[in-house]
Structures are given as C-alpha cells and as structure tokens.
C-alpha cells in the first residue's frame, strides 16, 4: 500500500533529479565554452577572416528571409491593429501600435527564430558531423584549439550580426506596416508617423537592441555547444540538431519573457 503511494513520488523526484543534473551539466559546459571563447579572443587566437566569413553567412545570406519575415510581420500587425481600432481610438494610434510591436517584440523575436532555423541548426549539424568524423579530434591532435577555430568566430559573428539584422527587420517591418495601413485604411504616411512619434521612447530602441544582442549570443553558443556534444553517427547528428533547435527556441522565448519585467518598468 505504502509502495503504491510512494513509488510515483520517488519516481517523480528521480525525474526531477535527472533533469536538474542535466541542466547543471549543460550550464557548466556552456559556461566553459563561453569562457574558453573569451580566452581565445583575448589571446588573439581567433582569425579575423573566420569572423568575417561567419558574418557573411549569418548576416548577408539571411537578408532575404529576414526581409520576407519582417514584411509579413509588419503587414499582419497593421491589418489586425486596424481591425481592432475601427471605432474607438484615433486612427494614428495604428502607427504607434505597429512601430512599438515591431521594435519591441516582433523584430527581435522573429529574426531570432528565423536565425535558429537558418544558422543554429546549421552550426549544430556542421560541428556534429565534424565530431563524428573525428575532425575535432584531428584539430586537437594538430595542436589547434577547436574553440578558437570554430566556436569563437561564430559567437562573435552572432553578437555583431544579430543587432544589424534586427535593425534591418525593424525598418522593413515598419515600412511594410505603414504601406499596409495606407492601402488598407487610407492612413497616410504623416498620420502613421505622427502616431509613432507621439508615444515614442528612445528607450524602446535600446530595449530591442539589447534583446537582439542577447539572442545573437544565445544562438551560436547553444548551437556550438550542442554540436560539440554530438555522439554516434548520422543519426546522432540528426537527433542533436533537433534537440539544439528546441533548446534554442525555448531559451529565446524564456529570455524574451524575462525582458519586460527586467527592462520595461
């Protein structure tokens, strides 16, 4: 009888214990990775060319997809906002709504999610393949530091590229929203920006920028970390990549939820 009650409880604690241990293990390994990357940067072991190459892959090559995502986000916000505002509020509030939604939330978050798919998954799969084909071991055996060669350039490139991409996404999103407001409800450009300016705080830009900086750091760090922990063959790479994507999206959503209580008071 006692067993019947105790067993599930013990099982539950065991599960929590395992999850806790795994979390601590991941956190420790992530910390070490970040620390080693900082050391690699400070000791000038990171090649500038590698950083540029990664910035090209993450930034320039992401422009089309970010363009599409941001335009759609702007258009949808504008349409839905217009629909909700019909009778009660002054029409220029639509400008406020679109600009604030894009700058505070949609620009950084959607760009980050897109980059998880485009860059995060790619990094994990790439490094995972290098692990299972012993290329990481080969780097080490030749006295090279995989963190300096593979991890640090991706992390630096992420931190630099993400805010630029988010800035781009903001501009596109706002512009698309404005065009849509004009098309949909005949709201002129001047009225749209009048509304935007009326409730504008420069703090908002800083807020969006901070988010993008954090996301730009989180994506390469987690994807590199997961890639380097890959075990097994092709199957292991696939599994690890899926897990990395889940891990990145969850982390980004949680961080996104932490921002308002921390920075919007």
């Amino acid at each position: 009888m006692a067993n019947l009650i105790l067993a599930p409880i013990v099982g539950w604690f065991a599960k929590v214990g395992r999850a806790y241990r795994l979390t601590v293990e991941h956190a420790g390994a992530l910390g070490i990775l970040v620390w080693e990357s900082i050391v690699a940067v400070v000791t000038l072991k990171v090649s500038f060319r590698d950083v540029l190459r990664q910035m090209h892959i993450m930034g320039v090559q992401s422009l089309p997809i970010v363009f599409v995502t941001a335009s759609l986000a702007g258009i949808v916000t504008s349409q839905q906002g217009g629909y909700q505002l019909i009778s009660s509020s002054p029409r220029y509030v639509l400008g406020t709504l679109v600009v604030q939604s894009v700058v505070l939330e949609l620009g950084p978050l959607l760009t980050a999610i897109v980059l998880v798919g485009r860059i995060g998954a790619r990094i994990t799969a790439e490094l995972g393949t290098m692990v299972v084909s012993e290329q990481i071991d080969a780097f080490k055996s030749l006295g090279r530091d995989p963190v300096a060669i593979l991890a640090a350039p991706r992390i630096i490139a992420g931190i630099i590229t993400m805010p630029l991409l988010v800035g781009f996404a903001d501009v596109i999103g706002i512009y698309a929203g404005m065009l849509m407001a004009d098309l949909d409800g005949g709201l002129g450009k001047e009225t749209f920006f009048y509304g935007a300016r009326l409730f504008w705080h420069s703090w908002d830009l800083f807020y969006g920028f901070s988010k993008s900086l954090v996301f730009g750091f989180v994506i390469p760090v987690i994807s590199v970390h997961m890639g380097l922990r890959t075990r097994g063959g092709a199957e292991g790479v696939g599994l690890q990549t899926t897990q990395a994507v889940m891990f990145m999206i969850l982390t980004i959503l949680i961080i996104d939820a932490l921002f308002p209580p921390l920075l919007l008071q």
Partner: protein
C-alpha cells in the same frame, strides 16, 4: 618513449581495464587485437582525445593527465596521429589539409614556396601525385587516397612519435607495402617512434620490433614477433593461426 600506466576506460561497458604498456624511443611497436577491444581508444588517450577514467600516460617523461596543461601542448606537437578514418577537414582542400599538419608558429613564418615544397614532399612520400590532387576536396578522393592524405598530414610536421591507427586497412597491396616501408624508413632514418595498430598481423610481425595484443580490456601479450608466434596462449595462437587459416582458404579458392 610512451608509457601507458594502468589505463581504465568505460563507456556504457568497460573497454580498457588496466592497460600497462611502454613503447621505447625509436621502436616500432605493433598493437593487435580483435575489433572493438579499444585499440583506438587507447591511442586516443595518448593525446587526451579520450580521457581515461583512471591511469596516466607519459610521453618522454611528461605526464598527460597529472602534469601542467602545457604538457599536453608539448606532447601534441611531438606526436603525429594517423586517424583510422583519415579525419580530413572536409571544408579544406588537400593542400590546406596537409599544411594544417604544421604547427601554427611554423606556418606563420614559412614562405609560400617552402610550404608548398613541404606539402608536395609529404604527398609524394605516400605515393600520391601532388599535381593532380592538391586542389581537390576530401569528398572528391577515394578512401585509400584520403587515408594517405591523412598520413601526409601527420608526417609533414616531422613528429618524433607517430601513432598509426590502421594505416593500411583499405589500401591495395602496393600502397600497403609503401606505407609499411615508410614506417620502417621513418624509424630507421629519423629515429621516429611508431606505435602501430593494425589488423595485418603478418605485416606487423614483419616490420615491428615488438608487438602486443589487447584482449578483453587488458594486454594479453607483449613481446617480440618471434615470441608472439611461439606463444602457447590459445588466444594469441588463434590470432596467428587465423591468419594462416585465411591464407590457406585463399589458396583453396584459387
């Protein structure tokens, strides 16, 4: 000199359970053993590519696991490692792959002409035609060619010690002989220490000064090739004789 001291390593199951082995400077040493007994794992502990659960490795008196971190850098510089599956960097071409075999400081000061000569020589030593393959990517090479590029990368930096993980598996007889001769020449002319993991028992017995056999996690045998052949141990005998048996089988088929 490499000395493995009481190496233990378990993954899901125990793989190495107390391995002690010493390879003297300038020696050619062959390590045999059934597939999956941990030969590759043992080689990898030399460079801390796999960290043993217990035990230590010393290379020329420097401890890998009990000394300062700088020991590992020094040791990695001394040792060339030939990976079982070549482990070429697949985003780099053959030229770049082989140049990675040189230490960073050397690459920084080496002139382009000198560097190409070193890469060129290393490829010719392993019987590859540099002109044809220098600009190829690993994905464009055959398995045997990859393997030999991997050997070129390991020797281009003129290491004092070479760890060979099945360098001749998958090579045709001519290239097998070429690699065996290379191991012998490096050892005789340049006093390079070689630890060779191989399934080619006959070849290993032929070229090596001493041989050992890894079986169920420990060293089952360690001695000269002659002692190996004469060993009364049934496991060793099975290994020697299995080879003879296969030769006989081949003869019967022909």
């Amino acid at each position: 000199m490499i000395s493995y001291q009481n190496i233990f390593k378990a993954f899901d199951i125990p793989v190495l359970t107390g391995v002690d082995l010493t390879v003297e400077t300038g020696e050619m040493f062959a390590l045999f053993g059934p597939s999956g007994t941990g030969k590759s794992v043992l080689l990898k502990t030399t460079l801390s590519l796999i960290v043993p659960d217990q035990g230590d490795v010393e290379v020329d008196g420097l401890s890998v696991y009990r000394g300062p971190a700088s020991n590992l850098d020094t040791i990695r510089r001394k040792i060339g490692y030939v990976f079982q599956h070549a482990a070429l960097f697949d985003s780099l071409n053959v030229y770049e792959n082989v140049s990675m075999g040189l230490p960073e400081e050397e690459l920084a000061v080496l002139r382009t002409a000198e560097l190409s000569r070193r890469v060129w020589d290393a490829l010719e030593i392993v019987n590859l035609e540099p002109r044809e393959i220098l600009s190829k990517l690993p994905s464009e090479l055959s398995g045997g060619m990859k393997k030999r590029v991997g050997i070129a990368r390991a020797i281009v930096g003129r290491p004092e010690i070479l760890l060979w993980d099945e360098p001749t598996t998958g090579l045709d007889p001519i290239n097998t002989a070429a690699v065996e001769r290379l191991i012998q020449r490096l050892s005789k002319d340049l006093e390079v220490t070689s630890l060779l993991v191989t399934h080619d028992v006959e070849g290993g017995l032929h070229i090596c000064d001493r041989v050992a056999m890894l079986h169920s996690g420990t060293l089952r045998f360690c001695g000269t090739p002659q002692e190996f052949k004469d060993s009364p141990d049934p496991v060793v005998q099975a290994f020697v004789h299995r080879d003879a048996a296969i030769a006989a089988l081949d003869m019967a088929v022909v």
